[in-house]
């Protein structure tokens, strides 16, 4: 493995504040296919991320607000992310040469396992880069998972996400959401992460609200709960996705 150091120096972190400090993350491996990339980063300190948690990431080139990126997996000082090659940061992750430096901090967010009831098993529904946290959950906590339905808009190579069934959602064909609604039955739960349109369709198609959780997305500011930029309105009032989410129980959403 060869790592070329970036130009920016990392400030010495203040004791007890790792959660708030940027750390260097070097692009080490990448697989690309169908407009998506699995990027593996080597970070300076162990990430200790759980399924459903995310890192805030940035580059020297901007944008001004860092971006939250869900973990596809985390092992020691190696983390993987699933990104679509659009937007300033994601496109750079998908295109920059290996060894390129990014900055990350975190992990943030409530791990999915801590956000859901453990008395039931779940159908996992992922769309696009929303597959990342669900695949991580499936690998880490298979006892919680009844079945998975993961969909992408474009065909990808067979080994893009090994051991992961992927549905290519071509026009007029069933989607991951359709598949999930087909296998769901009373007593099961459902956890979904993906485009808002997919979540809305699931909400409309599910006869029950109990045990259903959606990972929501809003433009995030700080990531650590201070700025209230990523709030969603629920029946119980505003909820910060960065510290109280990203998973929200459907019965709180009023959809």
């Amino acid at each position: 493995m060869s790592i070329s150091k970036g130009r920016r120096r990392t400030a010495t972190p203040v004791a007890g504040s790792f959660f708030l400090c940027w750390q260097a993350a070097y692009l080490d491996r990448r697989r690309q296919s169908g407009g998506y990339a699995v990027v593996e980063l080597i970070v300076e300190r162990e990430a200790r991320g759980q399924p459903g948690q995310f890192l805030m990431a940035r580059t020297e080139c901007g944008p001004a607000l860092p971006r939250p990126l869900s973990l596809l997996w985390a092992e020691g000082k190696r983390v993987a992310l699933l990104v679509k090659d659009e937007g300033q940061l994601r496109a750079r992750m998908a295109e920059a040469p290996l060894g390129t430096r990014f900055d990350v901090r975190g992990p943030y967010g409530v791990p999915y396992r801590d956000a859901v009831e453990h008395s039931r098993r779940y159908v996992l529904v992922g769309g696009g880069s929303g597959i990342a946290p669900l695949r991580f959950l499936w690998q880490r906590h298979p006892e919680l998972v009844e079945s998975v339905a993961f969909g992408l808009r474009h065909t990808v190579d067979e080994n893009f996400l090994p051991d992961t069934p992927l549905l290519i959602e071509e026009l007029g064909q069933p989607t991951a959401g359709d598949q999930a609604l087909h296998v769901w039955r009373p007593g099961l739960g459902l956890i979904a992460c993906g485009p808002r349109e997919m979540l809305r369709q699931l909400a409309a198609g599910l006869p029950e609200r109990k045990g259903v959780y959606f990972a929501l997305e809003e433009r995030m500011g700080c990531g650590y709960g201070a700025c209230q930029g990523c709030v969603v309105m629920t029946r119980d009032g505003p909820l910060r996705l960065c510290t109280d989410g990203p998973l929200v129980a459907l019965d709180r959403l009023g959809w």
Binding site: A11, P13, V14, A15, G16, S17, F19, L20, C21, W22, R58, P63, A64, L65, P66, E218, R219, M220, G221, C222, Y224, G225, A226, C227, Q228, G229, C230, V231, V232, M233, G237, P238
Partner: protein
């Protein structure tokens, strides 16, 4: 040896760097940083008489060299702030500037009275300029500013900063109104009213349409307002806020006339930045053989940085 300390508003600030109101919330998430290294001060999110949920999402959107926010003064309200937040704030080893706002004279007077008496409130900042709530920001005109500042200073002896909007042709008459009514100093500036439109739908991006622009994009605007106010009021304490994202912009803000410099959007991105800026500022002053930060303040009005140097 370089001295960063600032004695203004009846307080001893360890250094001139403050967290400005909003992006850092009530500062409690940053407690580990406050406990490790000194920072001049913490300005809280604006507290209002009653709890406010804030504006519907989306509340944030990127802008060139900055971001547009429409948080809408989300806060737990005065009672909850006093009972739950302030006791924790008192534990932080820094100067506490409590931002507050109310929609009418009676509300401002009542809040100033209660907050001014509360233990742990070092300075009050009256937010007259939020662009993300109903109605016109009061500091868009001198008369409203005068009325609200008068109400606040009638109710408390705690030093009061008037936080003004940059969205005026001339900030000096508005600032003069605030100072004539007893404001101890000025916070310049709040965010700049702005708009973004989603190109694929043709609709405004933020749910409430308008937002407040912050970040590097507004530095020149904030500098102009601070410079104008410093020229008009040479002795008045000024907190300069707007677009400070690195040492260079902090220096410019000080040179324009800011006794204290607030960091806003940049702390959302980089929580450690304010503390790092203190170190960098000290090093810069040392290299320039300027022994006190206060010598730098307003040097743009006095012939530049050369007149600050002490041998």
């Amino acid at each position: 040896m370089v001295d960063l300390a600032v004695s203004r508003l009846g307080q001893s600030f360890a250094n001139p760097v403050l967290l400005s109101s909003g992006p850092a919330g009530f500062g409690l998430e940053l407690a580990p940083l406050f406990r490790s290294k000194p920072l001049g001060g913490l300005t809280t999110k604006t507290v209002t008489p009653s709890p406010r949920q804030g504006n519907p999402p989306p509340r944030l959107v990127d802008a060139p060299a900055g971001a547009l926010n429409s948080i809408g003064l989300a806060n737990p309200g005065l009672d909850e702030f006093l009972a739950q937040v302030l006791p924790e704030l008192r534990e932080l080893p820094t100067v506490r500037l409590i931002s507050f706002a109310a929609s009418d004279v009676q509300g401002v007077e009542a809040m100033a009275g209660v907050l001014g008496e509360a233990a742990g409130v070092d300075v009050l900042e009256l937010n007259l300029s939020c662009p993300n709530v109903e109605g016109r920001p009061p500091s868009w005109d001198s008369a409203s500013t005068r009325e609200l500042v008068r109400a606040a200073t009638r109710a408390t002896c705690t030093p009061l900063l008037a936080k003004l909007s940059p969205d005026v042709t001339d900030v000096v008459p508005v600032a003069a109104a605030a100072l004539e009514e007893g404001a101890a100093g000025l916070t310049l500036v709040n965010t700049v009213r702005g708009l973004r439109i989603q190109r694929d739908t043709g609709r405004p991006t933020l749910a409430r349409m308008w937002g407040g622009l912050s970040g590097a994009a507004i530095l020149p605007i904030a500098l102009a307002r601070v410079f104008e106010a410093r020229r008009a009021f040479p002795e008045v304490p000024i907190v300069g806020v707007g677009g400070v994202t690195d040492l260079g912009s902090l220096l410019e803000m000080a040179m324009a006339g800011a006794d204290l410099v607030g960091i806003g959007l940049a702390v959302m991105c980089d929580p450690e930045l304010p503390w790092r800026l203190c170190v960098e500022l000290k090093q810069w002053l040392c290299r320039r053989r300027i022994s006190r930060y206060s010598q730098l303040v307003g040097c743009a009005h006095r012939g530049g940085v050369d007149v600050c140097r002490t041998c």
